[in-house]
Amino acid sequence: MNGGQDLGGMQGFGPVVAERDEPAFHHEWERRAFAVTLALGMLGRWNLDMSRYARENRDPADYLSSSYYELWHKGLERLALDKGLVTAEELRLGRAVAARDPSLVAPDAAAAMQILANSRGAKLEDPVAPRFAVGERVRVKNLNPPTHTRMPRYCRGKQGVVHVDHGVYVFPDTHAMGLGAKPQHCYSVRFGAEELWGEPRADVVHLDLWDDYLERA
């Protein structure tokens, strides 16, 4: 979606300001939001792409004025509601009302650590042939899905060269919408700064892009 999360190339945000000796968390609620997000995710009712979509699918003004962990929490509330883990009444009251679902078992501390360590990521073994070869020139399709995508708008319609074939990966655009993994190759594609930004400098930008985003240039 062309939402508030798609920031590459936007202007007007000012300089990058780094905090010295920055702590991992700035508020106690950030710790709790982080941990509850990870722990509820471990119940397996949604995937990482659904989490990203739940955070970004909102009024861009809301996205841009929310802090990072506020977005995590807002996305988590939405997923927990949509997947029936909590009710709107419970969120309003701040306590449980509905009965437990005995089929849901929360991982204990050791199990949670195992789940993190054993995380297998998004790479798949499906025998899908690549549509493009390393070194081939490609163009990013002019796609504007109103749903989740990992194609930033700044590369849309631009030409680049396939730099690395990463292999077969889960396709986030369908995975986020509950439409399956649609296994396909994901590539590192190299774009010149001049192609992207019209500036005559030798610098390059690499993006990781899937078969479905690309066509032959």
Partner: protein, 223 residues
């Protein structure tokens, strides 16, 4: 355990009885917008955590373990040890550049947000810099959780279009003959930068060398 680390903001830490500390602030903070916002999110986060615990959806000890892990155990010292090993062990450097996921797993750095890692080596003529313009993708197993600036709109918007300007924000003025390679983490592949080994460090041990490597070196906002 995490109790005792959270007391900076309101003078007391996380209460397991879920006493709402925003009530205290209203006594002396009328109409202060920033605090009001903070109180709202504080309430909402507490509410969901309490509901999840009461319904058996999360284990409070698992929450504490997750926070302890990412606040205190996992961080950029992991990545710094990887870099120092690459500087001192040619076979490890070769493995790291060919298959960084395996290379870090050999040092027991594994898991979430680092399942598919790629190492990018700086040279005198190439400088690599990593960003996630769409969210906040970051190699947790070697760098820990990202700093606020990495997740912020100024960095995410400009790192791809004006990387040299971003580097100047960090005090790095890159010569024109050094090529900048930006890596936008749009998929589940995570990137870590291997900075150049500083001159005059031939006699240092790997442990001493790792102390020279910062988080910003491994993101690419330091040279």
């Amino acid at each position: 355990m995490t109790q005792g680390h959270g007391g900076h903001e309101h003078g007391h830490g996380h209460d397991h009885d879920h006493d709402h500390d925003h009530d205290h602030d209203h006594d002396h903070d009328h109409g202060h917008d920033h605090h009001h916002e903070d109180d709202t999110i504080t309430f909402r986060v507490r509410a969901l955590e309490r509901i999840a615990i009461e319904k058996g959806l999360v284990d409070p000890k698992a929450l504490d373990a997750l926070i302890e892990t990412y606040e205190h155990r996992v961080g950029p010292r992991n990545g710094a040890r990887v870099v120092a090993k690459a500087w001192t062990d040619p076979a490890y450097r070769e493995l790291l550049l060919r298959d960084a996921t395996t290379a870090i797993a050999s040092m027991a750095y594994v898991g979430r947000q680092s399942e598919h890692l790629v190492a990018l080596e700086n040279t005198p003529k190439v400088h690599n810099i990593v960003v996630c313009t769409l969210c906040s993708c970051y190699p947790w197993a070697v760098l820990g959780l990202p700093p606020v600036w990495y997740k912020s709109a100024p960095y995410r918007s400009r790192a791809v279009s004006d990387p040299r300007g971003v580097l100047r924000d960090f005090g790095v003025d890159l010569p024109a003959d050094v090529e900048v390679r930006v890596w936008d983490s749009t998929a589940e592949i995570r990137y870590v930068v291997i900075p150049e080994r500083p001159a005059g460090t031939d006699k240092l041990t790997a442990a001493e060398l790792s102390a020279l490597v910062t988080r910003d070196h491994m993101i690419g906002t330091a040279r």
